[in-house]
Amino acid sequence: MLYMNDYFRILISIFVFIFILFVVYLILKRKLSEKDSLPWIFGLVFLIIISLNPNIFDSIANAIGVDYPPALIFAAAILILLFIIFINTMNISKLKNEIIELTQYIAIIEEKHCEIEAKLNEHSNEEHQRQDKKPKESL
């Protein structure tokens, strides 16, 4: 016999399952790297397990001494999210530094490129002048 609570649980499981499929789809489309998707996949599988067997959580909550088991779910969810966000911030810092280095590198290469081009132009102009002069002399 199913209670209202169970319908809700099944609904969440279905939602999470669709989310997992979506993550896998993104990996297949190469829009999400396998490495970056790992915390999400683990987190989602964790959510499915809990929503299908809430008793696990009740017994863990009892064992730790948490009176209200859903509070433990919130705590776990927040910790997982914090972890993912923190990893993101770390990656963004790294990416920022890399972008700065790349931009500097490109800017300096461009300057040197212009310098070399200017020298080449000068050189070829001199050559032209020399070639222009020669036939005149031979005449």
Partner: protein, 243 residues
């Protein structure tokens, strides 16, 4: 190529940059001029391209620190004897460049830094800014046992060893380079010389530090100084500049 390189980081300085460059050229000192255009959205790039100087242009805005570092990297690749960093907004007096050059060449200093506060008269600031500056000086005094009258000055001359060290990507403090470089060099007990400079009132643009910003700035800089100190004490990054 000349002995020294003047590095001018410029972001949206179309109003002042031309005069700054021309005034420096009038000095007739043996230096090359390099403008780092840091992703300006105005005509800064077009203006400096006409001036027969070296120009390096960032594709997008990376901030003052990164622009400065680009200059260091360039200078390191060309092995200039010294570099002078100079503001593009017209607040520094080009005549002080002559003093900076003579100091960095004669004294065996690693950094020569211009101070806006060594002359009593000139530089007027808001009370909040004065207060922030006092606290900053006190922090540096406690941390390094040295008095630097103007730690946030953007007018500096750096010897080859110094700028080469800070040109490397892990060594450069990107957020508050002016203060952090001074702190780092003081902790490692390298010689720093301060000399008085005159400052003109900004003709154009808005100062980096106006309104309530000095307080926020003070907080961030303090944090940044603490991190530099911790890096030396805990991570023992230690001595870095070798001949």
């Amino acid at each position: 190529m000349n002995e020294g390189l003047i590095i001018i980081p410029a972001c949206n300085e179309e109003a002042s940059i031309k005069n700054v460059i021309r005034d420096i050229k009038k000095l007739n000192v043996p230096v090359d001029i390099l403008v780092i255009n840091d992703g300006s959205r105005d005509n800064t790039l077009e203006i400096v391209m006409k001036e027969d100087i070296k120009v390096i242009s960032h594709l997008h805005n990376l901030g003052y620190g990164a622009a400065l570092q680009t200059g260091y990297i360039y200078a390191a690749s060309k092995k200039y004897k010294y570099i002078i960093q100079f503001d593009g907004d017209g607040q520094h007096d080009p005549n002080d460049i002559v003093t900076a050059i003579s100091l960095i060449e004669k004294e065996d200093a690693f950094i020569v830094t211009g101070s806006r506060f060594m002359i009593k008269k000139a530089y007027k600031q808001s009370a909040l800014k004065v207060f922030a500056m006092k606290i900053l000086r006190a922090i540096i005094k406690v941390a390094t046992k040295t008095t630097i009258t103007d730690p946030t000055s953007g007018f500096k001359a750096l010897s080859r060893q110094t700028y080469t060290y800070f040109s490397k990507s892990g060594n450069f403090p990107p957020d508050y380079p002016d203060v952090d470089i001074i702190i780092k060099m003081l902790i490692l007990k390298y010689k720093i010389v301060e000399f008085p400079i005159t400052v003109k009132k900004r003709e154009y643009g808005e100062s980096m530090h106006s309104g309530l910003k000095p307080v926020v700035y003070l907080f961030k800089v303090t944090l940044s100084i603490i991190i530099v100190l911790l890096r030396e004490r805990i991570m023992k990054e230690g001595d870095v500049i070798h001949e």
